[in-house]
């Protein structure tokens, strides 16, 4: 084979180099979905901590300790977590996890470290999205529900959360897209994701432009797909308003 097709063959097909891309993409998608799962679960817990009304010291009598009355340890803890995660780069977090926590303590695969690292990272952003969604609702909704005799839990479940979910869906999907793209740094701790695969292909085939353009196209195609699904879901949710 000759001409430009021959070049493409040399870059992508020879030595089964396309398998690097397939496996890299699978790695990327698996990390993204599992990390998103952790992010959602932990994010919900964190957001509930930030809006909780848990004040264990509210009956403190002493005036010297009066500041303790409004002290909410759950909220404080969640806010510290969110501040640290959002205030440091993801790559740095991955390296810390990789070098300090996991290698030191126990032997773990890069895949697991990536899932946990990105999951912990995403949770902080998800928590902020959910908190904003719930607190952005009209305060009158909770009041009306409570005034009808509903408990706090029931009001949250039937009135607040269904409305909040609708509001935060778009933001959650864009957080998912950010997460998907951000996994491209995982190669720095040795993860064989799509980006890493393309870098290898470029090195082995001595051609850089084509592999990187293909990488961009694959990322773009997938993010466009996610956005498309989000728009569909959003439209469905709007109709029931």
């Amino acid at each position: 084979m000759d001409g430009y097709l021959g070049v493409l063959y040399h870059i992508f097909i020879k030595d089964e180099r396309y398998m690097l891309i397939v496996n890299g993409l699978l790695f990327t998608l698996n990390v993204t979905f599992l990390a998103a799962l952790i992010g959602i679960i932990l994010g919900v817990i964190l957001s509930l901590m930030t809006i909780s009304d848990f004040k264990p010291f509210k009956n403190v009598k002493s005036d010297r300790l009066s500041y303790l009355r409004d002290f909410n340890p759950l909220t404080k803890l969640a806010l510290i977590y969110i501040t640290v995660i959002r205030g440091t780069p993801t790559v740095v977090q991955l390296f810390i996890l990789f070098n300090l926590v996991f290698t030191g303590v126990l032997e773990t695969s890069v895949f697991v470290i990536a899932v946990i690292g990105f999951g912990l990272n995403s949770a902080a952003y998800v928590a902020e999205i959910i908190r904003a969604g719930i607190q952005g609702l009209d305060k009158g909704q909770m009041e009306a529900a409570r005034a009808l005799g509903m408990s706090y839990g029931l009001s949250m479940r039937v009135i607040i959360i269904p409305q909040a979910v609708k509001k935060i869906m778009p933001a959650l999907v864009s957080e998912f897209i950010v997460l998907f793209k951000e996994t491209s740094v995982v190669g720095m701790i040795g993860g064989n994701d799509l980006t890493k695969a393309v870098r290898e292909i470029a090195a082995n085939s001595f051609r850089a432009a084509e592999p990187w353009i293909l990488a961009a196209l694959i990322y773009l195609l997938l993010t466009t797909l996610f956005t498309y699904f989000m728009r569909k879901v959003e439209k469905r949710l709007k109709e029931s308003d």
Partner: protein
């Protein structure tokens, strides 16, 4: 049926209610008026503890709702509330808005709740709106649905927090008419309002509040014709444009 003694409320340093004493009898229709910031709404919100009172006692059917052992959710089933901004649930249609609390809180069957709901919709003149969503209703319609929603819990008393203040002028009457009917049927009502005509013609008692205290508690006609306090005279001069 409601007895409030020495009720105080602070918002931080701000002393909003400075010792309210009030007794409400079955069938009372009480209009609560006064300048803004006088604590009218806050007092109303304290009665079902949507606002936590700082000090004092509130008895509803002889049960002290300030007692930590009191189950406020049960008390709230007896005390309906209608809000200035309606607060209908936007993700539920009109029928669902009305039957939600009866089915989930009082565990009344869906069928029975629906029957009650349709009766109430007829009563507020909105039978054709059962399956509409709140965003398709006018302000007056929303408030009438909110009243129906409160009535569906079969409360002993309803608290109205400026029910017509957020309405366009031409919609005020339709809401007041519904409230007038309720008053005629003997419903106990506490109404924070700026509708002086309504206070005068429908209420059997009038409470004038100023600066966190009840200044006058009297018959509406007495109040409008011969207010005792200077503060009330001043207020009436302003609102009646004399």
């Amino acid at each position: 049926m409601i007895k409030i003694t020495n009720l105080h409320k602070y918002f931080g340093e701000l002393h909003v209610l400075k010792g309210i004493d009030l007794e409400v009898k079955q069938g009372d229709v009480i209009a609560i008026i006064g300048p803004s910031g006088s604590g009218k709404s806050t007092m109303l919100h304290c009665i079902n503890r949507l606002e936590e009172p700082s000090k004092g006692h509130i008895f509803i059917d002889n049960e002290d709702i300030m007692n930590p052992a009191c189950d406020i959710n049960t008390v709230r089933q007896k005390v309906g509330m209608v809000f200035q901004h309606f607060n209908l649930f936007p993700h539920k249609n009109v029928l669902e808005n009305i039957i939600l609390a009866p089915t989930l809180v009082k565990k009344i069957s869906k069928e029975e709740s629906c029957n009650t709901a349709y009766e109430l919709l007829a009563k507020v003149g909105l039978s054709d709106k059962a399956s509409s969503y709140p965003n398709k209703l006018s302000g007056g319609q929303k408030q009438r649905i909110a009243i129906a929603r409160a009535l569906a819990m079969k409360p002993e008393v309803i608290l109205f927090d400026e029910p017509t203040s957020a309405l366009d002028p031409e919609m005020i009457k339709e809401v007041l008419d519904v409230m007038k009917d309720l008053a005629k049927e003997g419903m106990t009502m506490l109404i924070v309002t700026h509708e002086m005509g309504f206070a005068r013609n429908v209420a059997n008692r009038l409470i004038f509040m100023d600066n966190g205290l009840i200044v006058e508690d009297t018959e509406p006609n007495t109040f409008f014709n011969a207010p005792k306090s200077d503060r009330a005279k001043e207020f009436l001069d302003k609102v009646l444009n004399k």
